[in-house]
Symmetry: C2
Subunit: 461 residues, 2 copies
Amino acid sequence: TYAYEALPVAEWFRRNREIAGFQNSARAMYQTVRELVENSLDATEPYGILPNILISIKPVDESKSWYSIYVEDNGIGIPGGEIPNVFGRVFYSSKYKIKQHRGVFGLGLKMVVLYAQSTTNKPIAVRSATIRSDKIYEYKIMIDTTKNEPIIIDRREYNNKYRWHGTAVKVIIEGNWLNSKKRIEDYLRRTAIISPYAEIFFKGPDMELILKRRTTKMPHPPEEGLPHPKSVDVDTVKQMILENPKSTLMEFLMNNFDGIGEGLAKSFLEWAGLDPNKVVGGLTQEEVTYLAEKLKAYEGWRRPRADWLSPAGAELLEVGARSILGAEAVFAVTRKPSSYSGHPFIVEAAIAWGGQIPPVDKPILLRYANKIPLLYDEGADVARKVVDEFNWQNYKVKLPAPLAVLIHVCSTKVPYASAGKEAIAEISEIEEEMRLALRDAARKLRIYLSRKEREMELLNK
Amino acid sequence: TYAYEALPVAEWFRRNREIAGFQNSARAMYQTVRELVENSLDATEPYGILPNILISIKPVDESKSWYSIYVEDNGIGIPGGEIPNVFGRVFYSSKYKIKQHRGVFGLGLKMVVLYAQSTTNKPIAVRSATIRSDKIYEYKIMIDTTKNEPIIIDRREYNNKYRWHGTAVKVIIEGNWLNSKKRIEDYLRRTAIISPYAEIFFKGPDMELILKRRTTKMPHPPEEGLPHPKSVDVDTVKQMILENPKSTLMEFLMNNFDGIGEGLAKSFLEWAGLDPNKVVGGLTQEEVTYLAEKLKAYEGWRRPRADWLSPAGAELLEVGARSILGAEAVFAVTRKPSSYSGHPFIVEAAIAWGGQIPPVDKPILLRYANKIPLLYDEGADVARKVVDEFNWQNYKVKLPAPLAVLIHVCSTKVPYASAGKEAIAEISEIEEEMRLALRDAARKLRIYLSRKEREMELLNK
Ligand SMILES: Nc1ncnc2c1ncn2[C@@H]1O[C@H](COP(=O)(O)OP(=O)(O)OP(=O)(O)O)[C@@H](O)[C@H]1O
Ligand SMILES: Nc1ncnc2c1ncn2[C@@H]1O[C@H](COP(=O)(O)OP(=O)(O)OP(=O)(O)O)[C@@H](O)[C@H]1O
Ligand SMILES: [Mg+2]
Ligand SMILES: [Mg+2]
């Protein structure tokens, strides 16, 4: 009755892998491809490297539905000493920063390894070289789930004669190609839409997909920021204090947060009734709670900056929506930066009309978050709710209509509803921005439809 | 660029609490109530104790939206030495067993503590006494997120003069009563529907809810089982081998799995071409992979047992659906036990018709898993898909119609789509059983509607 057990973190994720998108072999195959591709895009685009990504899926043992999945990129690579950690430790990442990346959790690779380990008992194989490195490292790795540590099955080093840089990953998993091929193709095509500077070559068991680079122009890479004072809670403030207990309140504000200069720090501390010279390590629990509360409440901060973000841009969305949907017309908008709880975000939307879009009762919805196409859990995504509640009649649209919507949210913190990164949780500021983006795009649609209406009337005279 | 960071597990969940249902203060208030209530029901019902649960929500500081949430039960309590672990260690639980419980992750209480700690900086207060204990223990606890350990702020012991047993928990959080009250009331009413033997008394800031016990008859409690051979993957087999490396294959099978007697073990090993006397610690990696594969593939196992489950029963669902929905008629079914990947499950469904149910285009859906009402993420739940795809016309139902559906899944492993336990992931066996349950109930509805139709015709003659 009173028998308690502590579960090690890696074992917990291994047993509960359905919450990270690995609930069946078809979905696991899809999730494996996307976790690897998203890592490859994160390792190229932000560093000014035009991404070249090669993906190859081959049956290994059809009787057991075993497939090998190979993904290679020309990115910045992983330092030899870090490869075991990056593949073998849950919650190990270079992306725990105030900056827009596709990756956020420090979990993706580890879930792939845990799934392979649980279905085929095969280690993950990695080859990687960092930029200008004279060595290429090759590892075979599994995860010791009791200790959350890598098990290095094999390790080799080669001379990097041709100065290659990048990462190649190969894993053998139990999959279901028939039930995942459509989604994998969909995902790759939709990735190419929003990242037209990427070249993706996919070779599957019975198909090939060549998504050529359509531009060499890359978006301005996001910078790394400090947190906004509105984004921290009292526990985070306590952690910041522990890191530098000897700083004064003045220094604490100016060193830990974005956009707090001396003047602004002074006016905040005056407004909050706090002494600028007080040493933060000496604050009581009540004072720390009070400080955290005031950081959130103060109305005088500069707004959270969008320098840490990298939106797609209205032009790219128009080109993309037109090509993927075969639309007659596309109207795209990029909203001004906004924020929720101190986290900056930008919503972009595109409405596609007519052409090859079939008349639908419910508008087709293409969702993106930080340039990742979201294909599952649409019903749990706030975007679906916004599109369904939208009053299309106000914009001369009578359903059913040949209508599709693309919504892209980029943020330093996308509020994903689950560890599988498939749906965005209901955050009121984001929901509101989605409505406004849809409204802005719909106004352009209305102008277009009114003009078409008048043209029809003239023709009919 | 190459700057990596390891995040401690408790800190990861604190920062990513939206994936556990704590994405905003209204939802966090709801999630806090349900995590505590579910723990109280788990601590009473399976032990033959008629649950008495008291819930009290009070504003503590309206300017900051701070509320205290107090939940008390008459359950089996928590041993004094275990209280800090149970509240202060992520992935610490008594429910990592082959048995139907509401709790599954070993995360609920810890998320509540982390949320309180992050918003109000207040420790959680606990009072508990186990059955027949001469002591009552009181603690104030926070979590050290760097070490995943409890911080004991205060600890007291009292003589348990009146032999009370149970647990009382009080937490102070930043909440949003206005935006969560409807959901909290809904949740408690729906809990009372499926657990009519529970008495729930709820006192909120501006309302009171008294849900009296409607029966003293409790469902047969589930037993604790061993895993079914089809439910283990190769990593789990390796862990079992490490626990008893000196066992023979024969002993390994008979001791680790449910329903494998000597005869069945012999026939399996013969079929698989394995030596019954082989010591498991001496198996090679290939042999272990082979063994795991054969355990899954063998068709001769007994089917997974439902002794570890505790369904509600058709009668209870009918009474419940009728009372909560004010329906004119209710048709309920409990399907025979089934299984997916070796995990036994039972689907129960009830279709409610007419009375106070308004005509709807999309049938109202009440979802339950292991007797927990699921209120959010309906769009991500396989049950919504099943209800929407159901061919109601075949059963004399023409939409819009006054129609509501209740679906309950109970299993030793409910495949939740996220750590917030709100939706069931798409598992084909479960989806199929839901369709069949709906069909069985709909057939009864059709008979009823045909009879009503004939009565109308007779009246109209
Ligand atoms: N192809 C790659 N090239 C370079 N670095 C990589 C590559 N793939 C992974 N990494 C590194 O390994 C780390 C761990 O990757 P992993 O996918 O597990 O987590 P993440 O991408 O940080 O977050 P998420 O769980 O959301 O994917 C990354 O943060 C990155 O630093
Ligand atoms: N009211 C209670 N009475 C007795 N024991 C309790 C009570 N609440 C919690 N516990 C014990 O504390 C453990 C941890 O609870 P917690 O809610 O964190 O996890 P869980 O219920 O096991 O799983 P889940 O995360 O799905 O809720 C439980 O497994 C149970 O043993
Ligand atoms: Mg990743
Ligand atoms: Mg619990």
